[in-house]
Symmetry: C2
Subunit: 164 residues, 2 copies
């Protein structure tokens, strides 16, 4: 009996270990292949993620750096650099929030919109390759599982002090 429990724990621990390692591998490959796939558009996967957030209906009026960082689950400080590079190329603009002079609202420029439109074909073909052999049903299941993991990580992050 005791042995059964121990064996079960060891199995679970081994699975957790492998699962975390797979996540690490997949993330590395997502970045590597994504960067190269959109190379000719001069955009990285991180910039791609940012543009994808800015085109959402909800953020048409602009989004504060703090909120964008929370959405992408990166630090505010990290965004400063990426946003500066995007701004230097004229893809986004930083607008001072009328209601709070500390805050900068990040918005896509017409140039940014055009670039986003230009890369949609390649983004679609990338997803077609990356999600090969996965049915929509499979994708729904993965999404569900990743949501649980994301929530667990978010809870750990919060318990660790959040953005401090």
């Amino acid at each position: 009996m005791k042995q059964d429990i121990d064996e079960s724990d060891a199995f679970g621990a081994s699975l957790s270990n492998r699962l975390a390692f797979r996540l690490y591998q997949c993330a590395n490959q997502l970045n590597k292949t994504g960067n190269k796939w959109l190379e000719r558009h001069e955009v990285t996967t991180q910039q791609w993620a940012i543009l994808g957030a800015l085109v959402r209906d909800r953020w048409q009026g602009g989004i504060a750096v703090r909120d964008l960082a929370a959405l992408l689950m990166v630090s505010r400080q990290n965004l400063t650099g990426v946003l500066s590079r995007l701004e230097a190329r004229g893809w986004i603009e930083r607008i001072i929030d009328e209601h709070d002079n500390r805050s900068r609202l990040i918005k896509l420029t017409p140039e940014g919109w055009q670039r986003w439109a230009d890369m949609q074909g390649d983004i679609a073909s990338f997803y077609a390759e990356a999600m090969k052999n996965l049915s929509n049903n499979d994708k729904v299941h993965i999404l569900h599982y990743l949501d649980i993991l994301r929530e667990n990580f978010r809870a750990i992050d919060e318990a660790q002090g959040g953005e401090d």
Copy 2:
């Protein structure tokens, strides 16, 4: 009929988009929370992944940088820096391969083994939090799905020229 197909495609594209974004979020949080969780052991999640590879029975005799890079799915060049930091602290050693003088075999030192042993308790508690609300059966399913994604990414990477 045509419309059904279009709708189906749009749904699949939306799922792919959200799935990739979840992967990006989870990876960011895994690194952020993992780094902080093992802070007192002075080890990052990347170093943790490397140590975890080096303790495997198969690599007790040492592993070449090229093979380690393939396992972690990062570039050879990236490892140079991380390995130098680990070597400077005396956790690993680079041994010239007798059979091929170009190759360096990476091995854990006794100090490295001790440090690895010291952090096992915290690693276990991290996994307990990170994998909360997931049964072993769930973990097996996630592992299966991530394997498919990893293989898809690997295929894309290879088609893009691999390590060039």
